[in-house]
C-alpha cells in the first residue's frame, strides 16, 4: 500500500499530492477554489462576489512595512479584543441568568463554583476596559494621520458609530452583575436620559410623563429593576454585538475599497 503511494507520488510535491486526496476535494471542492472555468455560472458568481467583497488576498502599499509605528495595531487590536470578548462572553452566558434574584449569585458562582469562572470573568471585564480605550485611541490615530479625508469620510462616520456602540456595549454589561457598583452606575447613566429636553420627564419642556419618556424605553419603568436587567442583557448579548459585527464588516470593506490603510504612497 505504502509502496504504491510512493510510486504515485514520484515527481510531485506535497501540495499536488494533497490536492488529489478525497479530503482536500471534500473541503476545498471546486465550488470556491477550483480550477477556473470561465463559463461556469457558479464560478463566475463566486468570483463576482469575491471581487465586490474584496475577498482576494492583496498586496498593500509599502507604507505597511512600518505598520507598527503607523497604526500601532490599534484597530486590529480592537477587533481582537472584540473576538476575545465574544468568546469569554459566550462562556459567561452559560452560567448567567438575567434575573434580579439570581444574577448576583450567578456572578458569585464564577468565583467559587464554576471551574476557571473567575479567570474568564476577569478577562471579560479587563478586556472590555481595554477595548473602549483602544477604540478611542484608534480614533485619535485616524485623526492625526488624516485618515478621515476623502475617500474615507463615510468610514470615519461608521467608526464614530462603532465607538458609541462599544461604549454602550460596555455600559449595558456594567449592570449585569447586579451589585451596588453596577446598580448605581447605571442609575447615574440612565438619569441622563431622563433629563433630555422635550423627550425626558425631568428635562426642559418635558412633553412626556415619568415612566413614559425616552428613558423608560431603556429602563423599562420608572427605576432600574428587573425589566432593565433583561433589556440590558439582550442589548449586551445580542443586539449590540450584532450591530458591531455588521458595522465592522462594512468598516473593513470600506478600507479595502479605499485602497487599504491610508498612507503616503
Amino acid at each position: 500500500m505504502e509502496e504504491k503511494k510512493k510510486k504515485d507520488g514520484e515527481g510531485k510535491n506535497i501540495k499536488e499530492l494533497a490536492k488529489g486526496t478525497q479530503v482536500w476535494k471534500a473541503i476545498f471542492g471546486d465550488l470556491l477554489f477550483g480550477e477556473f472555468k470561465p463559463f461556469s455560472p457558479i464560478n463566475s458568481l463566486m468570483r463576482g462576489i469575491a471581487k465586490i467583497m474584496q475577498l482576494h488576498p492583496y498586496n498593500m502599499s509599502v507604507g505597511g512595512k512600518r505598520i507598527i509605528m503607523y497604526t500601532f495595531c490599534l484597530g486590529g487590536l480592537s477587533v481582537f479584543f472584540f473576538a476575545l470578548l465574544s468568546c469569554t462572553g459566550a462562556f459567561l452566558m452559560i452560567y448567567y441568568n438575567p434575573d434580579v434574584n439570581k444574577a448576583y449569585a450567578n456572578v458569585e458562582d464564577f468565583r467559587y463554583i464554576v471551574p476557571f469562572g473567575i479567570l474568564i470573568r476577569n478577562m471579560h471585564r479587563w478586556t472590555a476596559h481595554l477595548m473602549v480605550m483602544f477604540v478611542s485611541l484608534h480614533m485619535l490615530r485616524v485623526f492625526l494621520t488624516g485618515a478621515y479625508k476623502p475617500p474615507r469620510e463615510l468610514n470615519w462616520i461608521v467608526g464614530v458609530i462603532l465607538l458609541v456602540l462599544t461604549m454602550l456595549s460596555s455600559f449595558t454589561g456594567y449592570l449585569l452583575p447586579w451589585d451596588q457598583l453596577a446598580y448605581w452606575g447605571v442609575t447615574i447613566g440612565c438619569s441622563m436620559g431622563e433629563n433630555a429636553p422635550l423627550l425626558g420627564a425631568k428635562g426642559p419642556f418635558a412633553l412626556l410623563e415619568s415612566g413614559k419618556d425616552v428613558n423608560s424605553i431603556l429602563v423599562g419603568g420608572a427605576a432600574v429593576g428587573q425589566p432593565t436587567l433583561l433589556r440590558f442583557y439582550l442589548l449586551h448579548a445580542i443586539a449590540l454585538p450584532l450591530g458591531i459585527t455588521g458595522l465592522m464588516g462594512f468598516h473593513f470593506w470600506r478600507i479595502r475599497r479605499a485602497g487599504g490603510v491610508s498612507g503616503p504612497l
Binding site: L84, L119, N195
Partner: protein, 279 residues
C-alpha cells in the same frame, strides 16, 4: 508622484518622479529597498513596492493580539474584577459613579444642569465628530503621516477636545471621593470630608446675555483676524459651524474656571414657560 516605464533602463526598474518632500519621506521609510537619491530616482519594479497584507500587516496585528492575550491573562490572574454587595435600591452609596468612560460627563454634572451635561453636550460632541470630515478644508494635506506642521489648527483643536475628555475622566476617577468632593491623592477617601456649601452667585440676566454675545462674537471675529487664510479656505458656512463647535468646547473650561474662581453658578438663567433654562 508619477511612475513611468523607461525603455532605456533595465526592464525591472521604474523611474519614479517625486518632489523633494516626497523623497525625504520615502528615503526615510524604505530603508530596505534599493533607492538611489536624485530627482529621478531608480526603484525596483512595482512588485517590490508592496508587502503581503496577510503576512506583513494582519500577521503583525495577530502577534500583537497574542501579546495582549498574555497580558490580559496575567492581569486577570492577579487582579479580580470588582464585585460589591448585592444591589440595594434603598441604599445610595456616598460615592456613586458611572463607568469610567462616562465619568467625564458625570464630572460635567457638577458644573452644568443634567440636561446640558448628559444630553446636549454629548450630542454636540457626536455631531461635531460626524461633520468633522466635511468641515476640514484640506482634503489632501497630511494624509498618511503624523504631521502637526501641515495642519496645525485641525490637530490642535482635536487634541484639545480629546485631552479635555480624558482629563475630566482622570479627575472624576482619581480625584473624587465621597459625595463627589475633590480629594487630593494623598487624602484618605474613606474619611468623609465636610465641605461648607459655597455662596454661589448668578450673573445678572443682562450680564449673562452680554457675556454670551461677546463670547460668540469674539469667537467669530478673532480667528478671522489671527488666521488670515482660515476664513477663505473654509468658506462661510463651514467657518461658522467650525467656530460654533470650538466656542461650545471652550465654554466648558471657561465655566469650570468661573465656578472655582468666582463661585458662579449660572452664567445665564432664563425662565421660559415655567421652565428654567440655566447655562
Amino acid at each position: 508622484m508619477v511612475e513611468e516605464q523607461d525603455e532605456s533602463k533595465e526592464k525591472d526598474e521604474v523611474i519614479v518622479r517625486m518632489s523633494r518632500r516626497e523623497w525625504e519621506y520615502v528615503k526615510d521609510v524604505h530603508i530596505t529597498s534599493n533607492y538611489k537619491e536624485g530627482f529621478e530616482t531608480l526603484t525596483p519594479k512595482e512588485q517590490d513596492y508592496t508587502v503581503k497584507h496577510l503576512r506583513d500587516s494582519v500577521g503583525i496585528e495577530f502577534i500583537a493580539g497574542l501579546l495582549f492575550t498574555f497580558i490580559i491573562m496575567v492581569w486577570s490572574l492577579y487582579m479580580d474584577a470588582p464585585l460589591k454587595e448585592l444591589a440595594n435600591p434603598s441604599d445610595t452609596p456616598l460615592d456613586e459613579r458611572a463607568p469610567w468612560y462616562f465619568i467625564g460627563l458625570q464630572e460635567l454634572l457638577i458644573y452644568f444642569d443634567p440636561w446640558l451635561a448628559g444630553v446636549v453636550i454629548p450630542s454636540i460632541l457626536l455631531v461635531g465628530l460626524i461633520v468633522l470630515p466635511f468641515i476640514d478644508p484640506n482634503k489632501e494635506s497630511g494624509v498618511g503621516r503624523y504631521s502637526f506642521r501641515v495642519r496645525p489648527i485641525a490637530v490642535s483643536a482635536f487634541c484639545f477636545g480629546y485631552a479635555m475628555w480624558y482629563i475630566l475622566i482622570v479627575i472624576g476617577q482619581f480625584f473624587r471621593g465621597p459625595g463627589r468632593v475633590f480629594y487630593w491623592p494623598w487624602e484618605d477617601k474613606t474619611v468623609v470630608k465636610v465641605v461648607p456649601p459655597a455662596e454661589m452667585v448668578n450673573f445678572h440676566i443682562a450680564g449673562g446675555f452680554a457675556f454670551f454675545i461677546l463670547f460668540f462674537g469674539a469667537c467669530v471675529v478673532v480667528p478671522k483676524l489671527i488666521f488670515k487664510n482660515l476664513y477663505k479656505s473654509l468658506g462661510t458656512v463651514r467657518y461658522y459651524i467650525f467656530v460654533c463647535l470650538m466656542a461650545i468646547m471652550l465654554l466648558i473650561p471657561i465655566k469650570i474656571f468661573l465656578r472655582y474662581v468666582f463661585d458662579v453658578k449660572y452664567i445665564l438663567s432664563l425662565q421660559i414657560f415655567n421652565t428654567a433654562l440655566n447655562f
